[in-house]
């Protein structure tokens, strides 16, 4: 809990890290100043790209005491404005799941290598990043908490699988390596409430530690204050669920 007599400081900048296959990619890195030790958070950006909302969210997690990093999953598509780079990735059918997992693991290893890390690393993502969050914590070890926000396609039907997304992440549920918090809008079409039900059933079946929060009056992307989908009440309540969850699993 922040009190007004506390010192607060933060550093934020672009860095390079080693991603999938040892590739060099760039990432936005924000961390509290001070000796630490600090837990870490990896933020997986959404389909519209490595954009300002993700930079702001990276700083938000740093403000809450996490060394935070958001890798540029579209780095290999070249450079330009965020929307132009995103369009190029979109025209290729998106980034491959294996590559995303490798990049996120690289970001996690970057955080864990920091001298003032407390050794605990979480991961957060919205939209396609929510799907990638769940996928990564099922496919890779080394994470201590996961925040999946409306991960579209977690429970994808067979006919919706693509070369870039060859397996529905729900099929990996038994391999989930850490506690999970899920945030969903009941008016969302991707994932639908029925898909969220199936997601939850699989978690229950596998005996995993999770908590799901579902909001009436909210659809897809209800955290994005710059979009018509923003739902103030539901978004504020969600953040009040997310930070205590992370505190319990990453700071305890």
């Amino acid at each position: 809990m922040y009190t007004t007599d506390q010192y607060e400081g933060m550093l934020a900048e672009t860095v390079t890290i080693q991603g999938h296959n040892g590739d060099t990619i760039n990432a936005y890195y924000a961390r509290p100043t001070g000796a630490g030790p600090f837990p870490g958070m990896v933020l997986i950006h959404h389909m519209p790209g490595w954009d300002e909302w993700y930079r702001e969210s990276t700083r938000k997690f740093a403000h809450h005491g996490y060394a935070s990093i958001s890798p540029n999953l579209y780095f290999r598509a070249g450079h330009g404005t965020v929307d132009d780079v995103t369009a190029k990735v979109r025209s290729a059918g998106g980034v491959a799941d294996d590559q995303v997992v490798g990049d996120v693991v690289g970001a996690m290893q970057f955080l864990r290598s920091l001298p003032n890390s407390n050794g605990k690393i979480g991961v957060f993502g919205t939209c396609s990043g929510g799907r990638h969050t769940f996928l990564t914590v099922c496919r890779a070890k080394g994470f201590d908490a996961a925040v999946e926000c409306w991960g579209g396609g977690v429970a994808a039907a067979k006919e919706d699988l693509t070369p870039q997304r060859p397996v529905a992440p729900i099929d990996y549920t038994k391999d989930l390596c850490c506690p999970l918090i899920g945030i969903f809008g009941n008016d969302d079409k991707n994932p639908t409430p029925d898909q969220v039900n199936r997601h939850e059933e699989e978690l229950k079946k596998a005996g995993k530690t999770y908590e799901f929060h579902r909001y009436d009056g909210a659809g897809h992307g209800f955290f994005y204050y710059d979009r018509p989908s923003y739902r103030q009440e539901q978004a504020v309540d969600s953040w009040k669920k997310i930070f205590p969850f992370l505190e319990k699993h990453l700071k305890g």
């Binding site: 070249g78 450079h79 330009g80 369009a87 025209s91 059918g93 396609s128 659809g219 992307g221």
Partner: protein, 95 residues
């Protein structure tokens, strides 16, 4: 990508992007989250030259209804061009 709905085609023409005119070599049509349009999903149409990098792009984001109007509009003009016997014009001439 969230919907992964995508169609691509090789086309020829010119487009005016952020750095002026450039040669277009393809069009990418998708239905996914837009960047600017205040819709959850939009028909995004990108006229591109991928050899010139991500910035060689002329972009539109349309509602489905607008996209259908556009298709009808283009088909209408094509029909008139065909009916007028203009379809065999040689590129680069005439003006």
């Amino acid at each position: 990508m969230c919907t992964t709905i995508l169609n691509r085609a090789a086309i020829e023409g010119s487009g005016k992007g952020q750095n002026g005119w450039f040669k277009i070599s393809g069009v990418n049509v998708s239905y996914d989250h837009p960047y600017h349009s205040p819709l959850e999903h939009a028909m995004t149409i990108d006229f591109v030259n991928e050899g010139e990098g991500p910035g060689a792009r002329v972009a539109v984001e349309l509602s489905l209804e607008s996209a259908r109007h556009l298709v009808k509009c283009v088909e209408g003009v094509l029909a008139q061009a065909d009916a007028g016997g203009y379809q065999d014009e040689i590129a680069g001439g005439g003006r």
